[in-house]
């Protein structure tokens, strides 16, 4: 099985170690991992802002980069949903390119969903015993890709305790360009998340954008707790076993 890792630009730049963790985790599960060098950004910021011509340019580039692999795996729900849900929308009615987008969508998976649904692995190890974590469900992972049980299952089966958090399924307020277009609303949303956040040793999510935003706001408010990308925790779950 040949899998291409789409690291995504935010993770590449701000959570580089989560990329390393993703590669090691997948290899430990018997997957042959490649990192196609031509990859950049999936184009979601342009798409969400309504610049579909530019988004299509980036989508075409990305589709070419990831051609020929059995699967494309992303340690991200948001960029994952861009490929899986929105690329086909972008090329609707464009015949050959639409079919290409659908074909890519079919073999694209968010990391935890890939591990559970494609590899059929529900227990990675016991490396998270005694860890108390708060899990933030990123909106696109949750509502566009249906990534809900997978990360929870993998973390809990490795011994982690996920603290109950009333706002765990609410948007953190990042929203890509939204975070700088309407920053006051964006951080008010983060504050609602953080005001309800129970005591935990780390805040975990599958999306670098949410983590950057929540971490930045926590630091600005004071008393921050560490934020960790899901991929890092999953590799710890596996590696310490």
């Amino acid at each position: 099985m040949r899998v291409a890792l789409f690291a995504t630009c935010l993770l590449d730049q701000f959570f580089a170690q989560a990329g390393v963790a993703t590669v090691r985790l997948l290899r430990s599960l018997g997957v042959e991992v490649d990192f196609p060098r031509g990859q950049t950004c999936c184009g979601q910021p342009a798409f969400n802002a309504g610049h579909w011509d530019e988004a299509r340019r980036m989508a075409r580039h990305t589709m070419a980069v990831f051609e020929g692999y059995d699967y494309v795996v992303l340690p991200s729900g948001s960029c994952g949903s861009m490929l899986k849900v929105h690329y086909p929308e972008l090329f609707e009615g464009l015949g050959r390119e639409y079919r290409r987008a659908v074909e890519l969508a079919e073999r694209t998976f968010e990391l935890s969903q890939f591990v559970v649904r494609v590899l059929g692995v529900e227990k990675l190890g016991e490396g998270l015993k005694g860890r108390t974590l708060a899990y933030h469900h990123g909106c696109h992972a949750l509502r566009e890709l249906g990534v809900e049980k997978e990360p929870v299952l993998l973390l809990e089966n490795a011994g982690a305790e996920l603290v109950p958090w009333e706002a765990d399924r609410e948007c953190c307020g990042f929203g890509g360009v939204f975070s700088v277009k309407l920053p006051h609303i964006s951080v008010a949303m983060a504050d609602r998340k953080l005001d309800t956040l129970p005591e935990a040793e780390a805040l975990v999510s599958t999306d670098a954008g949410c983590l950057l935003h929540l971490a930045g706001r926590m630091k600005r408010r004071g008393k921050p707790i560490p934020v960790r990308h899901l991929a890092e925790l999953l590799w710890e779950a596996r590696n310490a076993a």
């Binding site: 590449d12 730049q13 990192f35 060098r37 990859q39 342009a46 802002a49 075409r60 909106c139």
Partner: protein, 463 residues
Amino acid sequence: MPPRAYPKESRALLAGRPEVRESVTKAALHFHRNRARAYAEVPVEDWRDFAAQVKAHVLSRLDRYLEEAEARLLEKGAVVHFAEGPEDAHRILGEIVKKEGVRLAVKAKSMLTEELGLNAFLASQGVEAWETDLGEFIIQLAEEPPSHIVGPAIHKSLEEIRALFAEHLGTPKDASPEDLAAAARRFLREKFLSAELGISGGNFLVAETGTLVLVENEGNIRLATSLPRVHVAFVGIEKLLPRLEDLAVFLPLLARAATGQPIGTFVSLIEGPKRPGEPDGPEVLHVVFVDHGRTAALADDEAHVVLRCIRCGACLNACPVYRQTGGHPYGFVYSGPIGKVLAPALLGPKDAYPLYHASTLCGACAEVCPVKIPIPKLLLTWRERAVREGLTYPFERPLVRAYAEAMVRPSAYRLASKAMRLFPGVLKSEALPLVRAWTRLRAGLEPSPRPFHELWEEIKDEG
């Protein structure tokens, strides 16, 4: 304030009146949790599918159903009018007011009459008009527009309401909520008994029977539509349902979506004015079908689905953006997620700009919508259209072009990645507007010491 002022208005509200955020969040989450519980008690997915299909069907044959509804209403003795917009609506209402010698009117809660600006019009005609829904009454005293489709005074704290009532109704400054409601009831009871005109909206209008359906919890709509001699109902043309039996799903679905109730406390099915021998009801019933942009929206291949909306407010309660401010900064009668897609459909993308950008596309709205309006998809549609019409921030287009240009060239991407690390100050610079917008309220961005694409070169041959 027009929608264009949303960024400024929302910022000012959050900074200047933080108590609004608190009141709105508390009330909206209360509705939201009740809805979730109420949905879980019934086969809600079947209901939502059914409701979405019925609405889609009605919209696909709206002309036919309007004719049918008109014929049935006439048979039952109602007077039927069609109003293209506020001007028509004002003219029609003005003629009724003159003919019937109306000096005092009582109003049932209706978002459409807000859309049409009827209160201001009635005042201009010398008619004293009172909102009789408690929430609407509160904001009428406060001289504010509704902040929520279902709970118009959702943004008001108990203290504010106490102060308003003390000023206008002379209640004690420490009156309990029960005392305040009783004071409003006493005040409005007088108005109900002496008003010549009752004005309502319409939750549904059943085409096959000409039945006007009104749903409420306070009993004020029943009084407003049966005590005065004349009843005028303003109904959006999209409110039609084909059959009476459709109500079997729509009534409980509306109540569960709106407040989590199994059904509204009072449901009025009105068929024509008082008949000979009947003790109650108005002598004259007017039904005014209102277009106000709906026909144009109906002709829109993608946007027409907003006309399915039954005004339950569930998307507002689910929306984390709405919950920070309530409805006022939106600058449009309908706020929250549905407001962001109704505004461009009814006003056009230019006048609604930038409401449809005020979303993280989190999808919480579409998850709860009882008629399955794909709100995030519509937001994207309007954004795409807005760009094509040149509705963008200054420098937005060249910036996006440059970004796309870099991203289709991996070497440019990698160069930018290197530059970011050579000049780490760039990500903290207050001089760059986009960076400043991030760092004013959050700590500055710290890139990883080395990007993953460099680390890959070291781990690619690991076992």
